[in-house]
């Protein structure tokens, strides 16, 4: 699910008639100062990053004057929140808060529901899960019919049921109705205002806004400028953009997913190029490597029966990182013949490892045509000077063993190099 920034979400809400705090985006402290001067009152400076926990991480600060806004914006722009550099901040007026509510709409894809669910809480500004666990009576839900949509009358009923003060109900209902329209019109998977603020002077404001969009709808919304429609907490890397554009975007034959887990490589670290086939087995394999203290450079998945040409490109992307080993864990899939993976792997490994003697390659490949796939790999790579180990279906539940073997092969590889010096 692709994300948009808070300031973009607020623009959508404003377009739907909701009140949002007056504010603008700044990329420099000086711009923040100018914006604060234009606002002419106390401001809040908010890091625009795709992650939660901004306040605790120093990504949200307050300023009484434009000069202080300049200082605080500089501090925020120098912050690194959960490894994400802050490149822009939202400078906006500080609201006088009388009460904070929570409201969100999320597509619940569980088999019994499969519909958007509206969640409202009389307590906002904190995690909705925490409120639901502590005070479930403060949380109310509405199931939204995907065809008929949401009737504002049901929202009014919900607010009444939740004992919201009568004089606030109509304005809050309109705000929630506006949120729903944004959710619907922009193909969102989830949208939330936390908090939806009731101010001292009796008005409802969307003080925060988080939106995730349906990846399959991004082509309908070029206005967001989303290059790689994924649920990521950061902007895509150059390699991810290349992989998206030339592997996935224009080729619907199976999956060719590639995402980097590391964006700032360190010379003293050992990185493993990771390649999974199918979610469950991939997760087990990745977890096994991580449990051994190995650092995965990327996560890749080639399931859904992609052609060998697509698998080839995914593995080329994996080898376009500074990796010291390649590990593939291919789960036991019924919907693809694994020999296509074997052809792709032989081609890439021959190209990439010709001049990397001893390089560790560990392949677990299971499923249809497994025996033939393993034979293709063995024959195709038999003259390669690499540390090659190939496993079949009897190892799909032995992910710890795969982790151990990866650790061993990598240690041998590194020691060999040390010994050669």
């Amino acid at each position: 699910m692709a994300r948009i920034y808070e300031h973009q979400g607020k623009q959508l809400l404003a377009g739907a008639g909701l009140r949002v705090p007056r504010g603008e985006v700044a990329t420099t402290p000086e711009q923040a100062k100018e914006i604060a001067r234009r606002i002419g009152k106390r401001v809040v400076i908010k890091a625009q990053v795709w992650t939660t926990g901004r306040f605790k991480a120093g990504g949200i600060k307050f300023a009484d004057t434009p000069e202080e806004a300049c200082v605080r914006a500089r501090q925020v722009l120098e912050t690194n929140i959960k490894g994400l550099p802050v490149t822009k901040v939202l400078v906006e007026e500080l609201l006088k808060v009388a009460h904070e509510y929570y409201v969100g709409i999320v597509v619940n894809s569980s088999v019994n529901i499969k519909a958007p669910v509206l969640v409202f809480s009389t307590e906002g500004g904190t995690g909705i899960e925490e409120v639901a666990a502590r005070n479930p009576e403060r949380v109310g839900k509405l199931l939204i019919d995907a065809i008929d949509g949401l009737d504002i009358g049901r929202v009014r009923d919900l607010l009444t049921r939740m004992k919201v003060e009568e004089e606030r109900r109509e304005e809050l209902a309109n705000a929630i109705w506006g949120l729903y329209r944004v959710f619907r019109d922009y193909d969102a998977r989830s949208i939330e205002m936390n908090p939806l603020v009731w101010t001292d002077d009796g008005q409802a404001y969307a003080a925060d806004c988080h939106v995730t969009l349906d990846d399959g709808s991004i082509f309908r919304h070029p206005e967001f400028g989303i290059e790689v429609p994924r649920d990521m907490e950061r902007e895509p890397t150059k390699l991810e953009k290349l992989a998206w554009t030339h592997i996935e975007e224009s080729d619907y034959r199976g999956t060719g997913y590639f995402a980097q887990m590391v964006t700032d490589y360190r010379g003293d670290k050992v990185y493993v190029g990771f390649h999974g086939i199918g979610g469950g087995g991939s997760m087990l394999g990745a977890a096994a490597l991580i449990n051994k203290g190995l650092k995965i450079a990327n996560y890749a998945d080639t399931s859904g029966d992609p052609p060998a040409s697509k698998v080839y490109k995914v593995v080329k992307a994996i080898f376009s990182q500074p990796i010291s080993a390649y590990v593939m864990t291919g789960a036991c899939l019924a919907n693809q013949e694994q020999w296509y993976h074997a052809f792709a792997l032989v081609k890439v490994l021959r190209e990439e490892l010709r001049d990397r003697p001893g390089f560790p390659v560990l392949i677990l490949i299971a499923g249809n045509r497994e025996k033939e796939a393993i034979q293709i790999l063995k024959d195709g790579l038999k003259d390669m000077d690499i540390r090659l180990e190939i496993y079949g279906r009897e190892y799909i539940y032995r992910s710890d063993y795969i982790g151990e073997r990866a650790e061993k092969l990598i240690a041998e590889y590194l020691n060999e190099e040390r010994g050669a010096e």
Binding site: K310, Y312, K313, S320, W339, Y340, E417
Partner: protein, 113 residues
């Protein structure tokens, strides 16, 4: 068909395929049953979609060039089969625009010690 170098080249959706007949065991020997056993055509029948056939004792494209883009399932098997049983006469390029340029900007060595 490239007349100068006796090469067959065609494209599929994401691949550029070249068969160099000057290296092709079947084409060079002209034998009805060459040493490679027409491994590329056999691989095509097993793993791909019938794009190759034998004509004049050499592998040729069995479909109009424009149809290759629609028909092939891009198995990469022809190149593999030729490398294994023949003389490496088939080369398949899978273009990945921008990747080589990107790789020049990254130290791909990886930690070695």
């Amino acid at each position: 068909m490239n007349a100068k170098r006796d090469i067959l080249s065609f494209e599929t959706k994401c691949m550029k395929v070249t068969i160099d007949y000057s290296r092709c065991e079947a084409a060079r020997s002209g034998a009805a049953n060459p040493g490679c056993g027409f491994a590329c055509v056999k691989a095509d029948r097993m793993y791909d979609r019938g794009l190759l056939r034998i004509e004049g004792r050499r592998p040729v494209l069995a479909v109009p060039p424009g149809d290759a883009k629609k028909i092939s399932n891009e198995s990469l098997s022809w190149e593999y089969a030729c490398n294994q049983a023949g003389c490496g006469a088939i080369r398949i390029a899978v273009p990945f625009p921008g990747l080589e340029e990107y790789r020049k900007t990254v130290d791909l060595t990886g930690r070695r010690r």
